[in-house]
């Protein structure tokens, strides 16, 4: 039995708690939250041991691992404390609010040989896993471009009252929404070498952004575009789609299906024809022990549990991988803050349409 403590019982924390408590190899030893009313209900009706203080919980119960789902600004300190105590850590995304801190925590965990994971659940979606498998097999030749999009109906009016509406606490469309398609993009085509033309726009929010658009330059000359909007009520719920263009074909994947177009010159691939092949989530998804809100949420927790049992298993979503995503988030923030850099022909700019002059970028410009 792997003994787990769950920290933070908001929307994600409660659902993680429900899934991991149902896992046959896990015993949930304690839960932590600052809200007494939730702890009272859980202790009375579910028999869980409850704490309002993280360190007190760590002092009081024997654990192998913690699952952290607090607001993002608390992640860094809690993760560090847990690692210092020799605990394996599953942390909700994004890992921390600075790339340096995420990288440092990844290094600490590596030195201590601890299992780490961040909740980028899309890497456990059957269709996205199939896309990854196809790319690794060179199915669409050399990748030239990737488009990563997410849309959904989260913020539909000006005032929110939780941490998710405050950028300083890790709220906002960039941290909360764009992190997902970004993380998928880095999984598919690797780390970014730079970003440009980033727009963090507001539709409704006063203290954070509701839209994220950017051009991302990846290694090996792969270009990417990111388009994210969490104030789009034409979507019933969050919808993430990645389109990948290669010299031998293209892949379009969302949670429900993967559509693959292969040129007649593409390498032969079992189960795929030249032209379009469409596969659905029903044929690409493995069964899980317990289903709450999508197989991927269960599967990612199972992956964490399996890796604690056998740390030599290949890692999906460890801290080092999440730190790459955090770095790009930081690049996007700095690029947007630097203002637009545009190209105009001599004599064309007018006062009313000229963008503000770009301040010296923290990151340097691509030449």
């Amino acid at each position: 039995m792997i003994r787990v403590g769950v920290v933070g019982l908001g929307k994600m924390g409660l659902s993680h708690l429900s899934m991991i408590r149902a896992h046959p190899d896990v015993s949930v030893e304690a839960v932590v939250d600052s809200a007494g009313y939730i702890l009272g209900v859980l202790s009375k009706y579910t028999g869980l041991k409850t704490f309002t203080d993280f360190e007190k919980m760590l002092d009081s119960v024997e654990l192998d691992a913690v699952l952290i789902a607090t607001p993002t600004r608390f992640h860094a300190a809690m993760v560090r404390t847990a690692l210092d105590r020799g605990l394996h850590v599953f942390c909700e995304k994004p890992l921390t609010l600075t790339a340096a801190e995420s990288a440092e925590l990844a290094a600490v965990a590596a030195v201590r040989g601890l299992v780490t994971q961040v909740g980028y659940h899309n890497r456990f979606v059957g269709t996205f896993r199939e896309a990854k498998r196809l790319l690794e097999g060179g199915a669409i030749g050399r990748v030239t471009h990737l488009q990563a999009e997410s849309y959904g109906p989260v913020v539909l009016k000006a005032k929110g009252t939780t941490w998710r509406s405050k950028r300083t606490e890790g709220g906002g469309c960039l941290y909360d929404y764009a992190a997902h398609p970004l993380d998928l993009a880095t999984w598919f085509v690797g780390n970014a070498t730079g970003v440009g033309g980033t727009i963090l726009g507001s539709v409704f929010s006063e203290n954070t952004e509701d839209e994220v658009y950017s051009t991302i330059y990846f290694a090996d000359g792969v270009s990417g575009q990111l388009s994210v909007n969490w104030s789009d009520e034409s979507y019933r719920k969050m919808t993430t789609r990645v389109s990948i263009f290669g010299t031998q074909g293209k892949i379009i994947a969302d949670r429900q299906e993967i559509q693959v177009y292969l040129r007649s010159t593409a390498p032969e691939l079992e189960g795929y024809e030249p032209g379009w092949t469409i596969k659905s989530t029903t044929e690409l998804t493995d069964e899980v022990w317990f289903y709450l809100r999508g197989e991927e949420y269960s599967a990612q927790l199972d992956h964490f549990v399996q890796r604690i049992g056998d740390p030599s298993l290949p890692a999906t979503n460890d801290f080092a991988s999440a730190a790459i995503t955090d770095r790009i988030i930081e690049l996007l923030t700095a690029d947007a803050a630097a203002g637009p850099a545009t190209t105009t022909l001599v004599g064309e700019t007018t006062a009313s349409t000229a963008p503000k002059a770009r301040r010296g970028s923290l990151l340097g410009r691509r030449s």
């Binding site: 939730i38 009706y45 579910t46 939780t162 969302d254 029903t282």
Partner: protein, 308 residues
């Protein structure tokens, strides 16, 4: 399942089980009206566009009625209130028609939690504003009667839109059932069941993606012969615990099974899917959604064929 009137495979009569407390053999689902499609985002969007017009929804419901279907198993989506209004306004046209509300419409709550936190969201959807605030003041923990109060008030809020139409069964949605199931909050099932029975004279139902595990917990909650709806299909799509465990439960455990996702969102051809369903013991009813008359009629015809 027995029916009174003889009928042929391609025509005739309501698909009901008169004089019996059993559910109709076929319930009509509503996913297709709200842009929910488990296999394709494009198809989902097409449907969302088509069904933003209430008349388009009613036309499909009328097709279902004409083919003999008498029950709409529906979410508590705001737009269902408009459907209820049409049915309530024309009792002769919709003679014998029932709604099986499935509550809550979870995305409404999930988005509210993102925006206002858990307490804020509860406050927003609970009638009798301020009650929750009063309970929270001073941070005292919630007593049993408070929890009962919250659950029953939330149920009442969701049921308000169904006044004046028949709701013989009230379902708890799988995202809530399975959340409570994983947490081990078994008492909540009994609170829901008691309230639905006493306040609405209706049969409580539970939707789940984890049938074998839920049956154990409903046993513990003291709910006898429960009405449970879950995915049941030949390819084991979203049947947590595995097809064999489901078949074992169907054969041996005392519960009333309603099968959904019998076609696994279109992954199994209709005849093959239903042939398999009717070979399983103990399935009382199936729920399916469709948006064309031909699809409704062909499915109903298959059901009439296999049922006889």
């Amino acid at each position: 399942m027995s029916t009174t009137a003889p009928r042929t495979a391609d025509s005739g009569g309501p698909l009901t089980t008169p004089g019996s407390s059993k559910l109709d053999p076929v319930l009509f689902g509503d996913n297709q009206f709200f842009g929910i499609n488990h296999r394709s985002e494009e198809k989902a969007r097409e449907q969302a566009m088509r069904f933003q017009d209430l008349d388009a929804i009613m036309a499909v419901i009328d097709d279902a009625y004409a083919s003999g279907i008498r029950t709409l198993m529906c979410t508590t989506h705001d737009r269902i209130a408009d459907v209820v209004e049409r049915v309530r306004a024309d009792p002769e046209r919709y003679d014998g028609f029932s709604f099986f509300p499935c509550m809550p419409y979870a995305h409404k709550y999930a988005d509210a939690v993102t925006e206002n936190g858990i307490l804020g969201a509860l406050n927003r959807f609970m009638p009798g504003e301020g009650m929750l605030n009063a309970m929270m003041r001073g941070g005292r923990s919630l007593a049993k009667k408070d929890i009962e109060g919250i659950i029953t008030l939330l149920v009442d809020a969701e049921m308000a839109g169904f006044a004046g139409v028949r709701t013989p069964v009230v379902w708890l949605q799988n995202v809530v059932v399975d959340l409570l199931l994983g947490l081990g909050f078994t008492d909540a099932f009994a609170i829901f069941a008691n309230h639905v029975r006493t306040r609405y004279g209706a049969e409580p139902g539970f939707i789940t993606m984890n049938l074998p595990m839920l049956l154990d917990h409903l046993d513990q909650a003291g709910i006898e012969n429960p009405l449970v709806c879950s995915n049941i299909n030949k390819i084991g799509f979203r049947m947590s615990g595995g097809v064999e465990a489901y078949q074992d439960a169907l054969a041996k455990r005392p519960f009333r099974a309603v099968a959904m996702s019998v076609f696994a969102s279109g992954a199994i051809p209709p005849r093959e899917a239903l042939e398999w369903i009717y070979a399983q013991p103990g399935i009382e009813s199936i729920v399916f959604g469709a948006s064309s008359r031909s699809h409704i009629e062909s499915t109903v015809a298959l059901v009439r064929e296999f049922e006889n």
